[in-house]
């Protein structure tokens, strides 16, 4: 790795771990934060960046993306992402894990999630120990749930022994079948194959029991229903090692958005009812939800320009993760400090990496953020490798003005209109 000059960011408002903003300076050397505060000054030979009064925040840590799509991540202020094992071929052997772990460096760090089972088939265990030592930061069941409880028990037993967090897509697969919508009036009117929202709580209940039995750490990637969130709340009270994530679509949208059959609204899990949407917001506010992730899954027209039920689920979410989360701050659901706990601090903790907070010793992954800057999401002008966003043409607020990975400035594709 080439040696970069120490970096000093001046004239910014530093987001401290307690959530307060403090006018001050931040200095990094050798890729790590060395000092920050009102009394810090640049030293000779430092590269100086003037933050111009903007917020100096930790780079976002995205808890579960499907593609290493650097331009989109950089646009969105994301410096690290946990990569889902659903790659072609899947991340189910150590060599691929090792390769992927290095694939974003130096300006983007990928934290691979090892496939829980070979080929993500949900039956034979993958080499979890070897993959951990090859750089896997967790284990994931992939886009699917492991329906076989015996297999899942053994996955969790290994995970507990190896101290790897298990990322679960908690949707009972038998109940989901080929559903692309949540059962309810919208799905009925549209004639879309639908599954009850309870498919989520059903899966969560089992996986919480297995986590309790094995002592494994469980991360539920997207908890999107009131019932699912109630289970998480109770499990946390009981001391089960569980964290819960969500992506902005589930607090921004409900199944009413399916009305025009737009395949960009085809997500997994499917969009829920308005009541569930409100429950997600409440769970973000009360701390039940620990992380907001992009679920970044860029899909081209070959996957999306299809009838709704035939299209692939997923959205390109990296660019809109920050501004949509900032909506919650503007609406006073959460504080700015809590927003960055959801976007960076907690995700780093789940993965066990020294990032996600501005403090001496942490890696110098830094985003300079203009929290109020308005821009318009434009599907045709995205930095992502595909423009499948459900938020096309929506005005949002919050943009990254500059991004640093390991104390070095990273390029940003300047595309979206302001």
């Amino acid at each position: 790795m080439s040696k970069t000059a120490p970096l000093t960011i001046t004239g910014g408002k530093l987001l401290r771990p307690d959530g307060t903003l403090e006018a001050g300076t931040l200095r990094c050397a050798d890729g790590r934060i060395v000092a920050l505060g009102a009394d810090v000054t640049p030293q000779d030979g430092d590269t100086v960046h003037d933050a111009g009064g903007l917020i100096v925040a930790p780079g976002l840590v995205d808890l579960g993306a499907y593609a290493v799509d650097k331009p989109a991540f950089h646009f969105g202020g994301i410096t690290r992402a946990a990569l889902m094992p659903d790659q072609t071929p899947p991340l189910d052997v150590p060599s691929r894990v090792r390769y992927v772990a290095l694939s974003g460096k130096p300006d983007f760090w990928v934290h691979p999630l090892a496939a829980a089972t070979r080929g993500l088939e949900g039956s034979a265990l993958a080499e979890l120990g070897l993959m951990r030592d090859a750089g896997a930061r967790g284990i994931a069941t992939g886009r699917r749930w492991i329906a076989d409880s015996g297999t899942m028990l053994r996955v969790m037993q290994y995970a507990a022994m190896l101290d790897l967090v298990v990322f679960v897509h908690a949707q009972d697969s038998n109940l989901m079948g080929s559903a692309v919508a949540t059962a309810g009036e919208m799905a009925t009117r549209l004639g879309l194959p639908a599954a009850p929202a309870e498919a989520e709580a059903l899966a969560i209940s089992r996986d919480l029991l297995l986590a309790e039995m094995t002592g494994a750490r469980l991360h539920l990637r997207k908890v999107t229903t009131a019932r699912g969130l109630d289970l998480v709340r109770a499990a946390k009270d009981k001391g089960i090692k569980v964290t819960a994530g969500v992506s902005p679509a589930y607090f921004m949208l409900s199944d009413l958005a399916l009305a025009e059959y737009r395949s960009f609204m085809h997500l997994s899990p499917p969009l829920r009812s308005e009541a569930d949407r409100k429950a997600v917001i409440a769970a973000i506010a009360d701390g039940t939800i620990d992380a907001i992730a992009s679920g970044h899954d860029p899909r081209g027209s070959e996957d999306k320009r299809l009838p709704f039920a035939d299209s692939a689920p997923g959205m390109a979410g990296a660019e809109t993760l920050l501004p949509l989360t900032m909506n919650l701050v503007r609406d006073e659901v959460i504080t700015l400090g809590r927003a960055f706990e959801l976007l960076a601090g907690n995700p780093a903790r789940v993965l066990g990496v020294e990032a996600g907070r501005l403090e001496p010793g942490a890696e110098a992954d830094i985003a300079i953020i203009d929290r109020d800057r308005p821009w318009i999401v434009d599907s045709d002008q995205m930095a992502a490798s595909a423009g499948n966003t459900p938020f096309d043409k929506q005005p949002v607020q919050g943009r990254v003005a500059a991004l640093f990975k390991g104390g070095a400035r990273v390029g940003q594709k300047k595309t979206a209109t302001t």
């Binding site: 059962a183 309810g184 009036e185 919208m186 799905a187 009925t188 009117r189 549209l190 004639g191 879309l192 194959p193 639908a194 009850p196 025009e260 059959y261 070959e302 320009r305 299809l306 009838p307 709704f308 039920a309 035939d310």
Partner: protein
């Protein structure tokens, strides 16, 4: 032509839609307009000479991505009786099987300058997707589990021919409501015309939230059929009979089959309908299906051709430069 209680605006204002994707979005007077327009074709079709060259020179493509015999035949006859050049595209023999995307197929059809495209597709919303990409009107001949608007229109025309007013008409729709586009379109059209609708199915075949569509759901057919003026039976697909959604055909008949005994619970002059093809001895007994004085099943087929002629005529008026429509 029958008189109608509903009046509608002059010219294209009577039916201002570019295509016919569904009953949802149609005003009651627009439905009545199509029914009234169909009456002339009912008359014509009953003559030996059933030809009127209104659509001469126009090309109509029947793009059927899902198998169909009756609906395709009905649309083909409708187009030909109006003098159009009718071409049928079957998915089974088309490049769709070779991996071409639906929208590429749509672009291809569009480049051939069709004047109307009739589409059937197994996915809900597929017809609207194509309709947004082509320049000519599209007619939905059934999209997934969403809508089958010409079926609902022909059913309404059939009921009207049986001299029933829609207002307050007690209709029971029984069968696989969950997977039925016929049920959805009929619910929308008949409730918009003022009928009082009950739907009846086992819980496994009843969609969640159906009551929001202004219907009363029932699981007990005997209760649902009580006092009904029209009994509309739905076809039970073979692939759903083997334990997935119903335990067995004979149990289904026991609980939901339209037998003479059950029909006796309906109003004394209740009429029987079925969109076809029927599973005789499962959802409907032969002695009910064949009751000359009660069964409207063949009348439905007849009305189907007339309705489709009306739809093709109305939707091509703009392109043909018909006065008031151009």
């Amino acid at each position: 032509m029958r008189s109608s209680a509903t009046s509608y605006p002059e010219g294209s204002a009577a039916f201002p839609h570019r295509g016919l994707v569904g009953i949802a979005g149609l005003a009651p007077h627009e439905i009545m307009f199509l029914l009234d327009e169909a009456e002339q074709w009912v008359d014509l079709n009953r003559h030996a000479q059933k030809h009127r060259d209104l659509l001469s020179g126009l090309t109509i493509i029947n793009a059927f991505f899902e198998n169909s015999t009756r609906t395709l035949l009905s649309f083909e006859i409708a187009g030909k009786r109006l003098g159009a050049d009718v071409v049928n595209m079957h998915a089974a023999t088309s490049s769709v099987k070779k991996g071409e995307t639906l929208l590429d197929t749509a672009a291809t059809l569009n480049a051939m300058h069709a004047d109307a495209i009739v589409i059937r597709h197994a996915s809900s919303g597929a017809v609207q997707l194509i309709g947004d990409k082509v320049d000519c009107p599209v007619l939905n001949a059934g999209d997934g589990q969403h809508e089958h608007p010409t079926q609902a229109l022909l059913d309404a025309l059939t009921i009207r021919h049986a001299k029933r007013a829609f207002n307050g008409l007690r209709v029971v729709i029984c069968g696989d409501i969950l997977h039925s586009r016929v049920a959805r379109s009929n619910i929308l059209s008949l409730s918009s015309l003022g009928a009082d609708i009950r739907v009846c199915a086992p819980p496994a075949l009843m969609p969640v939230g159906i009551e929001a569509m202004n219907v009363a759901p029932f699981h007990n057919f005997d209760a649902a059929i009580a006092g009904a003026d029209v009994v509309m039976m739905l076809r039970l697909q073979n692939e759903r009979m083997q334990g997935d959604f119903i335990p067995s055909p004979r149990e289904y008949r026991h609980l939901y089959g339209l037998t003479l005994d059950r029909l006796s619970l309906a109003s004394p002059d209740a009429l029987v309908m079925h969109p076809g093809p029927m599973n005789r001895g499962i959802e409907i007994d032969s002695n009910v299906a064949d009751m000359v004085e009660r069964s409207l099943i063949t009348l439905q087929v007849e009305m189907g051709v007339a309705i489709r002629m009306a739809c093709l005529d109305v939707l091509t008026r703009r392109a043909r430069g018909v006065e008031g429509w151009a």
